[in-house]
């Protein structure tokens, strides 16, 4: 009992998020049809939660241990705080997106539920990021998934919304079920669900490698679903295309961040023997986790890039591009070094900003022309120069060309790979990047070179949207030139509890 009370001080951000959820629901009930106070309440809650995260940035400790056990259910460390801050940042931006989205305005009477479910996702993602026990992993993963199933179909009145949420719930249910089966086998072999204890048992080499490998592959189904790594990515294009675009953005940014954080923690804590002084990790020889991840990573980026080549819907194209980016992010984990981990953190911050920007422009264009098809994008370069030039900047950054931030992100990843002596894989990734140039530039061709048969009325932006867009564009450009603070921040955030 005493331990539980003591642990409460470590989960202040989660408590604050839970209180904010309740407050939001009460405000929604009291205000009735008046929905305009919900966004300020949401932002306030996010800022307070963000304050608590910064407040505990340098703490590292276990929370919710039981009696004689020195490990706990949650591991609080600066690595977790880094990803939690990233989630708070993207949630704040998503609230602004929601205010600008016409799609959500049509479902205005459900705005209270919409924000409450986003809080549900945030709480789930926080627990996912600091989970040190496979049961917490499963429960928090389900909390995120259950909220996002509903969010994918929140407007309820278009065919593609409902279809997206059905496909999401089926794929999600199956992969989390497979993951649970894997956890149950691992529990049977080791007698525990705590990843630190599993690590100690794996190091003692008393268990059979084959069964552990099987169970870990089953567990990866759950992680792979969350970060949409191949072969668990089939839901990604359909759900991303069908869901309201604010939710698509949120899924591609925040829930992926939580999944990657979980995978990184799981990899480093469970399979690593010790960390060398030069920052590379010694992996336990029982399981060939590295080869497994190499196969997944190459498969993911190749499938993502090649499928994106013939997409004619902008949301679907960005969905496949986000699958490809997960492949690149996995490269940082494959390097199995502190440097690779730092590269993943840097990549994720930059990926968040440029992906938010690209989806924001797609949403603003859809607000005007009511479509995300590339055929309808013809001639938009003349009609909306500010929007299309910003889209061009985000796409160039997604390719990874200088002087944008995407270049820095890829540079650090490839450096980490080369320092880990994995030149062949770096070359494969580079070739993949070359393939991706084609489909990003194809969008630009539609925007600026192809002219439309019918005249498009020139349209501008209102002031708040323009400010939001400028913020995202400048951060994409500035991070490409002045990235030292980000690198230092990532360097300070790679401490995981226990290593």
């Amino acid at each position: 009992m005493n331990q539980i009370v003591n642990s409460l001080q470590y989960i202040k951000p989660e408590i604050s998020a839970a209180i904010a959820l309740v407050v939001l629901v009460i405000v929604d009930l009291v205000m009735g049809k008046n929905k305009k106070y919900l966004a300020p309440v949401m932002i306030l809650g996010l800022l307070v939660t963000g304050y608590f995260i910064i407040d505990q940035f340098n703490i590292s400790s276990f929370a919710f241990g039981s009696g004689n056990n020195k490990y706990g259910l949650l591991a609080i460390d600066s690595f977790g705080s880094f990803f939690k801050l990233l989630i708070i940042f993207s949630s704040i931006i998503i609230v602004f997106f929601t205010l600008a989205s016409d799609e959500i305005k049509k479902a205005n009477e459900r705005l209270g539920e919409y924000y409450a479910l986003i809080w549900g996702m945030i709480i789930g993602m926080f627990f996912m990021i600091s989970a040190a026990d496979l049961i917490v992993v499963y429960i928090s993963l389900e909390l995120v998934s259950l909220s996002s199933y509903v969010l994918a179909g929140i407007t309820k009145d278009t065919l593609r919304n409902s279809e997206a949420s059905l496909k999401y719930v089926i794929y999600g249910g199956v992969s989390s079920g497979i993951m649970l089966f894997g956890i149950s086998i691992l529990y049977g072999i080791t007698g525990t669900t705590n990843i630190y204890e599993i690590n100690a048992l794996l190091q003692s080499q008393q268990i059979q490698g084959l069964i552990v490998t099987l169970s870990v592959i089953l567990i990866f189904a759950g992680f792979g679903f969350k970060i949409s790594a191949a072969p668990f990515h089939f839901w990604t294009p359909d759900v991303y295309e069908g869901a309201p675009i604010t939710i698509t953005t949120y899924l591609s940014v925040a829930s992926k961040a939580a999944g990657v954080a979980l995978l990184l923690r799981f990899t480093k804590i469970t399979f690593i023997d010790s960390v060398n002084p030069d920052g590379s990790w010694n992996i336990i020889s029982l399981i060939d986790w590295r080869s497994f991840l190499i196969i997944i990573s190459i498969l993911t980026m190749t499938l993502g890039n090649f499928a994106a080549l013939w997409q004619n819907n902008m949301k679907r194209l960005l969905a496949y591009s986000s699958v490809a980016h997960v492949g690149y992010i996995l490269l940082g984990i494959i390097a199995l070094s502190n440097e690779g981990m730092m590269a993943v953190l840097i990549y994720f911050v930059i990926y968040t900003i440029m992906n938010l920007g690209a989806f924001f422009v797609v949403m603003l264009i859809a607000n005007k022309i009511g479509s995300e098809e590339l055929d309808d994008y013809k001639g938009l370069g003349k009609a909306a120069p500010v929007l299309t030039v910003s889209l061009a900047i985000f796409l160039v950054s997604l390719i990874g060309l200088p002087p944008t931030a995407g270049f820095i992100a890829k540079l650090y990843l490839f450096l980490a790979l080369i320092n880990a002596k994995m030149i062949v894989i770096a070359v494969i990734a580079l070739l993949n990047t070359v393939v991706s140039v084609y489909y990003y530039f194809r969008v630009l061709k539609y925007l600026f070179i192809n002219s439309s048969e019918k005249e498009i009325e020139p349209f501008g932006l209102n002031i708040p949207n323009l400010i939001m867009l400028l913020v995202l564009v400048t951060s994409t450009l500035v991070l490409g030139i002045y990235f030292t603070p980000l690198v230092n921040f990532a360097k300070n955030s790679i401490t995981l509890l226990g290593f």
């Binding site: 429960i139 199933y149 593609r160 089926i170 049977g188």
Partner: protein, 103 residues
């Protein structure tokens, strides 16, 4: 008289797991697919309880099974609501016919 041991429970749970996966892959009706998912979750539950009982791991396996039962109920509730909405929009719950989103 056979003595029922851990291995029997594991065989039952493996069969349930395979049936669940088989159901998810072959059934066209959305409700049947969801039932397949329930089978997968319950096979994991059997594993947890059997391992805890025969491995002397204390109560942790049973506790986990309780959590899983609660989550399975929550997931079923949400999935049913989504299927109801699908029926309203498409007038069918055959997952093969719900394909407006395609390449």
């Amino acid at each position: 008289m056979i003595h029922i041991g851990l291995i029997h429970y594991l065989i039952v749970s493996s069969i349930l797991f395979c049936l669940g996966i088989f159901g998810v892959i072959t059934r066209k009706n959305a409700i049947m697919v969801l039932m397949g998912i329930e089978l997968i979750l319950n096979s994991a539950n059997i594993n947890f309880v059997a391992f805890a009982r025969y491995g002397n791991f204390g109560n942790s396996g049973q506790l986990t099974a309780l959590f899983v039962i609660i989550l399975a109920a929550a997931e079923a509730a949400i999935a049913m609501a989504i299927v109801l909405n699908i029926y309203k929009m498409f007038s069918t719950i055959n997952v093969d016919e719900i394909d407006t989103l395609k390449d």
